[in-house]
Amino acid sequence: MKDFIRVSNALLILVLMGVISSAFYEEFTREGPPCPLCFLQRLGMIGIATAILMNLRFGIRIKHYVLALFSAGIGGAVSTRQILLHICPNFPTFGYPVLGLGLYTWAFIVFCCSAISIGVFLFLYQPDQAMKVRMSWLDYLAFLATALVTLGNIILTIYQCHFGSCKDVPWPPKNPPTSLSVPAYNLLFPFV
């Protein structure tokens, strides 16, 4: 049972990192710029992953799950705010929908699912899980994935916002850039 919980923890981390990686993919292939709220949602997901990493390294404890739940709560609040902003009438959507839903709606679903899975882990918690054990290759993979995704976000944030605060970018932009600045824009909107 203890091994099953550890493997499930590592899998939860890998799923979260997969979600952020797919957001990266969306961003680079479809030119959808992330906004401050999107960055906060990514921070929430990395927060959940980091709290679960503590379980893998120090042994499974309730405190670590509570930190993960806090991160999920903050991320869920941020994505709820963004959903509420974009369901207002005459307010444009941000970015492109994926499978019919905006990325912020998917983020909300991910936070809800993470909170539910952490609740299940807490339900299955037993004091003997708190013992430290050797990390498996899956745990190391989860560590590596989290560190790489965090590093990628640091580089992206510095590239987009420099060292100041991130500004809201209207999307699609009111004044479309020229073909010289963003060539892919003309491919996406050939008739605009």
Binding site: L40, L43, G44, T50, L53, M54, F143, I154, C161, F163
Partner: protein, 51 residues
Amino acid sequence: MMFALFFIFLLIQVLIFFRTRRASLILFILNLAFMVMMFIHHITENIPVRL
């Protein structure tokens, strides 16, 4: 500013890897507080001033 929050998370991950539990817990809680502050800042700066 936002990059600093990601950077602190990376630092926490390094600390976790080297088994420094207390420091990583304290930094984690601080970072969560920063995230809440950024969220509140985002809400308040978008409220139109009517007075």
